[in-house]
Structures are given as structure tokens and as C-alpha cells.
Symmetry: C2
Subunit: 206 residues, 2 copies
């Protein structure tokens, strides 16, 4: 609820031009309560609890085919799950488990995504959260135990896949969420790794 007011104010007045105190006043609480729930101002926009979902999806995937295919497929599936299930999408930057109005949830997610893309501080933090997700993916792949070389390759593959995911998210936000997110992700993966690398992941044309 605090988050809703925060995102609204940030969108209206700009992130830097809005103080935490103003957010607190809008939400009807004291500034301290805001800091209690959101350790930093940036967390008012960036909250993700999706990392585990993607990582679990990868750990559960059959260990066949190249790394990027496994990771890419997991990303597409996770996005499809989130987009279809709760109106929430994106492997990173997912919001609360909003069980409320799905339409409203998607608008909130879009607003947050736009802030994340346009505000340098938020964008930086968002990209950094991808590092944590990347580590989770590498862990889920069990690559760390297979030696430093395997871990290195897994990190490279996971990082590249997440970069493609980020590109898809940016594009999705630019189109106001009208496009199909899983398909966009598949297209980004195909653009980066070649069409064959993600074939079979989804009905991605091209």
C-alpha cells in the first residue's frame, strides 16, 4: 500500500524530486514506518521475490541441451507463468504476490518498470539484482560444483540470458505491456543466440 503511493508520487513528480517523507505523508504513516518496511528508498520500487521461482524452474529442468537453451526456456516459462497466472510478469522486478485486481497489478508493474528504466539509481539497482539472480541460476545448474571452468561458462551463459531478458522487459514496457512477454523474451533470446538456440521453447516466430 505504501508502495502504491510511492510509485504514484514518483511517476507524477519524479523519483529524485519526491522525498520519503512525502511518500509517508501520502500513505498516512511516519517516515520511520516507511524505512521499516523498505530499507531504502529504491526498494519502494524494486522488490523481487521471483528469483527463487526461476532458479527452481531451472533446477527442475532436464539437464539436456546447451546452457542457454535450458536457462532461456526457464525464463520464458517463468514469464508465462507470472504473466498468465497473476498478471505479474518479468523474471526480475516482480512485485508483491498481488492477489487483487490483475489489471491493477499489471499497471503497477508497468509503472515500476518504467521508473526502473528511466531512473539511473533504480536502473542500476535493478541490474544489480540480476547479479543475484544470475548467481541463483548458476547454483541451480549445479555448475559451481563442477569446477571453476564450468562455473565460468555458466555465469557467462546466465548473464547473457538475463541481459536478453532485460532487453525484452524494456521493450515490453515501451509497448505499454501490450505485447506478449514470453514471446518477447523468446525473440530477444533468438536475436542474441540464434533462432535454433531457443527453438522449442515457445511458438516464437522468426
Amino acid at each position: 500500500m505504501i508502495q502504491g503511493h510511492a510509485v504514484r508520487l514518483f511517476t507524477e513528480r519524479g523519483y529524485d524530486a519526491t522525498t520519503v517523507t512525502e511518500v509517508a505523508e501520502a500513505a498516512g504513516v511516519s517516515p520511520m514506518t516507511v524505512y521499516r518496511h523498505f530499507p531504502t528508498k529504491e526498494d519502494l520500487v524494486l522488490v523481487d521475490r521471483r528469483d527463487r521461482l526461476v532458479a527452481e524452474r531451472i533446477a527442475a529442468s532436464p539437464p539436456d541441451g546447451p546452457l542457454v537453451r535450458r536457462i532461456g526456456r526457464a525464463l520464458v516459462e517463468a514469464a508465462a507463468l507470472l504473466a498468465g497466472g497473476g498478471g505479474d510478469g518479468g523474471g526480475d522486478g516482480g512485485g508483491d504476490g498481488g492477489d487483487g485486481d490483475p489489471e491493477r497489478d499489471r499497471d503497477l508493474l508497468l509503472a515500476r518498470l518504467r521508473l526502473m528504466i528511466s531512473t539511473p539509481a533504480l536502473r542500476a539497482r535493478h541490474l544489480d539484482s540480476n547479479v543475484a539472480l544470475q548467481q541463483a541460476i548458476v547454483d541451480a545448474l549445479g555448475a559451481e560444483a563442477a569446477g571453476p571452468e564450468a562455473a565460468f561458462r555458466a555465469h557467462a551463459a546466465a548473464g547473457a540470458c538475463l541481459a536478453a531478458l532485460h532487453t525484452a522487459l524494456v521493450r515490453w514496457a515501451e509497448e505499454d505491456g501490450r505485447a506478449d512477454l514470453p514471446e518477447l523474451i523468446a525473440q530477444a533470446l533468438a536475436a542474441a543466440f540464434g533462432d535454433d538456440a531457443v527453438a522449442g521453447a515457445d511458438g516464437a516466430d522468426r
Copy 2:
């Protein structure tokens, strides 16, 4: 010079535990002078003027082959240039054009890289600077003018390549700069995109 003291203090005491005032005192100037030269505390570690070099290298490359090969080759070449020329490496986070002791320059770069990797705030900023580099690459490719679809694919490819570059930089820092950076970059690209995608650049020039 201020930067040298800053990196040393940050490494000794930790980034967050060191105030800008302490850096200023160590450098023998006032805090304001520090802010004059480095707009933010993070800039004391993150300085990059390399973006243009990579972008120019891409703009000058022949427009044949897939995007990732063109971008990957440019990254490897840029790293080879910087590593061999001035003891400076990395498409991002490059330092001043240190014309002094190359040994000293490399150590400074390594220290900065380690800080960038281990400190969340610095890591976030560093990753964000990659976004600017990504945009420069897309511009250099002239993809923006070729329509939104081409731009989208170029962004996905560039982002993925930069993620691989980042992985290589992390690995390079972990090995204390003993490994050959261009080769590491080529390996990371190969791990992400397949050996054939960078066949032209893989270990060719070293």
C-alpha cells in the same frame, strides 16, 4: 591522485566505512575539491572513458556476419589494445589514460575492479554504465535507423555480449589479472554463444 588515495582507503577500510572527508584529508585537499573532480563518491572508483573506443571499433568493423560476432570481436580487440597498450583493460571501468608506470596502473585497475565487484553500490553503478555502452554499440551499429525490430535485436545482442564481458572481467579479477584478458573474453563469448560464434576472434590475436 585523489583517486589513488580513495581506492587505497576503500580497499583498506571498506567503501562504506570510508567517508569522502577522509579521502580528502588523505589527498591533502578539502572535501569540496573532491566533489569538484568526482561528482559522486562512486565516481572515485568508477571512471570510464573506454565506451567510445569500443563503439568506434564497432562502427569501423565490416558489417558482415552475425551481430554477436561483430560485437564480440570488437570487445576482444579493444581489450587487447588496452591490455597491451597501457596496462589498462576492460571495455568498462577503464581508468585514466595512465601514462605512468604500467605495473602500477594495472594494480590500480585491479583494485578498482575488485571494489566494483564486491561493493553493491559500485557494482550497480558499474552495470548501469554498461547500459550506456550498450546504447553506444547499438548506435555504432546503425541499428536504430533500421527500424525498431532491428534495434531490439541489436540491443539484445549487445547486452548479452556485455554480460559475457562482465563475466570475463570478474574472472580476470579473481585470478588477480594473471590470465590473458582478451582470451578470457573470447572464452566467455564462446561459452554463451557457442564456439562457432566467435571462431574468428578466438585466441587468434594473442
